[in-house]
């Protein structure tokens, strides 16, 4: 594809932000940011939620215009009025949420909105030919006529990239491209990124997954509260440097709580087997046994598809096991309904808080009280006063930053929304709490708060089981680390394990750092 052949020196500055600031009313999302994007190299933006990464992305891709400052493309100051203008100048963005039509095939998705027309209609043959070429370029064996819904998420990401390339992008902005990918798909993506940079395409990369981003990036830009706190080349920095600049000072996610006696076994899982919900003939959880004592914190690590979510959902009553048992304090609760599990003190904080955790049409307070309606219902009627007490209590205990229980749930930041989901379940006074990826999509400060909260509750006798796909989060508050692989426990470690040991047990290739 000749369009990708770039002229010009590799490494020279193609796009630069000069004193870019953006205000929404009184809120200063960006306060004068300066940085360069180099030809044929990867520049990664690091920053917590709310640091201004998304705003910066939107400015670079022409979605919003800066309040002051300018964007310099090829040495020329430019102002984009829309994202299509930016695209015409070769800047494309791949959003975190894929914007493909799942019901249409790869070819039609790639040429959506700019179909190749002839006098008699769309030239499907030509579109197909070009799609095939693009797929060859990306070394991905995807037929142009496959419906997008039949592709794996990683392949869909590739289609999204192909679409960006098909408009001759010189600068490709990728917002959290790996958040839904498995480790092997990440490898494919990184290979594609390397190919692209070799051809002179410049990449702007955003990720919460710091270690991963470090593998691919050439330059690092760190944002905090709308200001750029650091800018360096990859060879001069390490993980600790990024985290330090992201959060201000050294941050750790805590250590296993100690100084108290753990109680009896609170949760005991024996030989649990769960068939694939999609109907495939293998078991997503395969004869798994695990017991957790009151006051103990267990971390379950595993890759996508290791069966972590299915395990937790089965224990909490959402999925039905084909064999095996779940006992809560010695009482069999296998196959109980979710409501019955909650009543008995076994609760689940789901992975996807937007889809499974929150009711967006309700207020913060009503979300918090949803799982404990019985606690403030007398006879037929709910008691507003008792509910207010319960909600106030939850907001205080879980440290939710909100205007109060009556605030709409959408007014909270991601971290605080997550605390609402956790607070809702803690309000039921559980014996055992299962948390599926409690740190997903929240910034490192909120992560630390969530872990601290869990550690505190464990000291009071709560049994905590959480899953994670970030190794760093295993080595925090957990007393025990379980590694899951293909529905089984492949290893069990104490808190003194190394990251490499955990990753090896999960089947993940250990990348050389």
């Amino acid at each position: 594809m000749s369009a990708l052949a770039e002229t010009g020196q590799k490494g020279e500055v193609v796009l630069a932000a000069r004193n870019v600031a953006k205000s929404y009313g009184n809120v200063h999302a960006l306060k004068g940011v300066n940085f360069d994007i180099h030809r044929g190299q990867v520049t990664t933006l690091f920053g917590e939620n709310g640091a201004g990464k998304s705003t910066l992305m939107k400015i670079l891709s022409g979605v919003v215009q800066p309040t002051s400052g300018e964007i310099v493309l090829d040495g020329e100051a430019i102002a984009f009025a829309s994202s299509s203008q930016a695209r015409d100048r070769g800047i494309s963005i791949i959003h975190q949420e894929l914007s493909l039509a799942p019901n249409m095939n790869v070819r039609d998705n790639i040429f959506m909105g700019r179909e190749i027309m002839t006098a008699t209609g769309v030239d499907f043959a030509e579109e197909e030919r070009q799609t095939r070429l693009l797929m060859e370029e990306l070394e991905e064996d995807i037929d142009p006529l496959t419906p997008v819904e039949d592709l794996r998420l990683g392949q869909q990401q590739i289609v999204e990239i192909a679409r960006a390339l098909s408009v001759n992008s010189r600068i490709l902005i990728m917002d959290e491209p790996t958040s839904a990918l498995s480790a092997s798909e990440v490898d494919v993506l990184f290979k594609v990124i390397r190919d692209l940079t070799n051809r002179g395409v410049s990449i702007v990369y955003i990720s919460h997954h710091l270690e991963e981003a470090l593998q691919i990036t050439n330059h690092a830009v760190v944002l905090r509260d709308g200001t750029m706190t650091a800018y360096a080349e990859r060879k001069d920095i390490d993980l600790e440097w990024i985290v330090r600049h992201m959060v201000g000072d050294n941050f750790d996610l805590g250590s296993p709580p100690s100084g108290y006696d753990k109680g009896d076994v609170a949760l005991s899982i024996e030989g649990l087997t769960v068939p694939d919900p999609g109907g495939a003939d293998y078991s997503v959880v395969d004869g798994l046994s695990l017991s957790v004592r009151a006051g103990e914190i267990v971390c379950i690590y595993g890759l996508m598809g290791a069966g972590r979510t299915e395990l937790l959902e089965t224990v909490a009553g959402r999925l039905k096991p084909s064999s095996g048992s779940v006992k809560l304090k010695g009482r069999d609760v296998t196959g109980q309904s979710i409501a019955a599990c909650i009543r008995d003190g076994l609760v689940l904080v789901p992975e996807d808080r937007q889809r499974d955790g929150l009711v967006q049409t309700m207020t913060v307070g009503r979300n918090l009280s949803l799982a404990s309606l019985g606690a403030f219902t007398r006879g037929l009627f709910t008691s507003a006063a008792r509910e207010l007490d319960l909600v106030g209590d939850a907001i205080r205990k879980v440290h939710i930053k909100t205007d109060g229980g009556a605030a709409p749930i959408g007014s909270l930041s991601g971290g605080n929304q997550q605390k609402v989901v956790i607070g809702k379940m803690l309000a039921t006074n559980p014996e055992v709490i299962l948390l599926d990826e409690p740190s997903r999509g929240i910034d490192i400060g909120a992560k630390a708060e969530v872990f601290k909260l869990l550690a505190e509750r464990a000291k009071q006798g709560l049994a905590v089981v959480y899953t994670t796909s970030e190794v760093g989060e295993c080595l925090s508050i957990a007393h025990r680390i379980i590694v899951m692989r293909r529905g089984r426990i492949s290893a069990e470690f104490g808190p003194d394990v190394t990251k490499e040991q955990i990753m090896a047990a999960s089947g993940e290739a250990v990348h050389a750092h």
Binding site: Y24, G25, N26, V27, A29, G47, E48, N49, G50, A51, G52, K53, S54, T55, A316, R318, S337, I338, A339, C341, I342, R343, L348, P350, R355, D356, G357, L358, V359, Q360, T361, M362, R366, S369, L370, A371, L373, G374, T377, L380, F381, T382, T402, D403, A407, P408, G410, S411, L412, S413, G414, K424, D443
Partner: protein
């Protein structure tokens, strides 16, 4: 990562501190102000409009739509739709008429004449059964609500036509010697000057309002309509809630059918055709979101009165029936437009 939540918090904080502007106030109470505007305009145009007797007549018309709309509100809050209410209304009227004619039991060689109360209870049960069919189809057999209730719409209407062979029961008065008089009480009698139908509507509205605002069921309904998966994971029995709302909607439709056939002193198999659409319109004008989770009884009642007072007003000032349809349509579209502006701002 986004900066918008921070802005929203800020805006919300400002909003709660200062007083609401006139525009916002007008916007929030738009159904109420629309109703007032309708009353004022028609009162100026016709001297007959602003009289107690006219309001009572209009209110008893509204009672029919209002009852359907209350049931519809529950279904819409759940994120569903019930297209079968008009047919259920018609079927309920026909069944009530059938029961009033006496039930022949050939095996025993007797004709049973159930008293009016028995007829009312049996008809409500019928409505509940129709609703339960909808509910089971939707909650357990996973038929989309639109399709399931569309099917039931046809089936119920068909049964009503089959039962009467397309004819209408004109004799609903009963006979004193059989002890089944009093069916006209619902449609014609008044308590303290207010038609019974309107009182029935008020009772249903109050009960439903309490159900939604003060009971766990109400909370379950708002939660499962807003996000069914989250509600389920919070221990809400989402399927039971779903079936219940369709059952309640069916009962509301049956009661509306009783009131209507009592008002008309006849029960025809084609009664209530397209009423489901009027009921949906009332709910939407009342500010409810068709996606579920948002809506109130007060809003829905205002919506029902807006539609009823508007169309009766157009009749009184002599606008043709064709124009009435156009006006009603315009009001519905405007209401939905305002709703989408409101929810988009969140």
């Amino acid at each position: 990562m986004s900066v918008t939540p921070a802005i929203d918090t800020k805006a919300a904080a400002n909003g709660s501190k200062r007083k609401k502007s006139l525009v916002e106030l007008l916007f929030e109470g738009r159904a109420f102000f629309a109703l007032i505007a309708i009353v004022v305009v028609f009162s100026l145009m016709s001297p007959n409009y602003f009289t107690v007797s006219n309001f009572l007549i209009m209110a008893s018309h509204v009672a029919i739509f209002g009852l359907l709309a209350i049931g519809m509100l529950l279904v819409i809050l759940n994120g569903g739709i019930d297209l079968s209410v008009g047919s259920t209304l018609g079927l309920a009227g026909v069944v009530a008429g059938f029961l009033m004619q006496g039930v022949v039991l050939p095996q025993l060689g007797v004709i049973l004449y159930p008293s009016v109360w028995v007829v009312v209870i049996l008809t409500c049960l019928l409505g509940a059964v129709v609703g339960a069919v909808n509910g089971v189809l939707i909650a357990y057999l996973r038929v989309p609500a639109f399709v399931a209730t569309l099917g039931v719409l046809y089936v119920a209407r068909g049964i009503a036509l089959l039962m009467t062979n397309g004819l209408t029961y004109n004799n609903l008065g009963g006979r004193p010697e059989l002890g089944n008089t009093g069916f006209d009480w619902l449609g014609f009698n008044r308590l303290g000057g207010i038609p019974i139908g309107v009182i029935v509507l008020l009772v249903f509205a109050v009960v439903c309002h309490i159900l939604l605002t003060r009971t766990a069921f109400g909370r379950w309904l708002y939660a499962s309509g807003g996000n069914e998966r989250a509600a389920e994971l919070s221990g809400v029995p989402v399927r039971r809630v779903k079936i219940t709302v369709y059952v309640l909607s069916g009962i509301c439709a049956a009661v509306a059918g009783l009131v209507l056939s009592s008002q008309l002193t006849s029960a025809g198999p084609t009664a209530g055709m397209t009423y489901e659409l009027t009921a949906i319109a009332a709910v939407v004008i009342g500010g409810a979101a068709l996606t579920g989770g948002r809506g109130t009884v007060i809003g829905t009642m205002l919506g029902a009165f807006v539609i009823g007072f508007l169309s009766d007003g157009l009749v009184i000032i002599g606008v043709s029936a064709y124009w009435q349809t156009v006006f009603t349509g315009a009001v519905i579209v405007t209401a939905v437009l305002l709703n989408s502006i409101k929810y988009a701002r969140r």
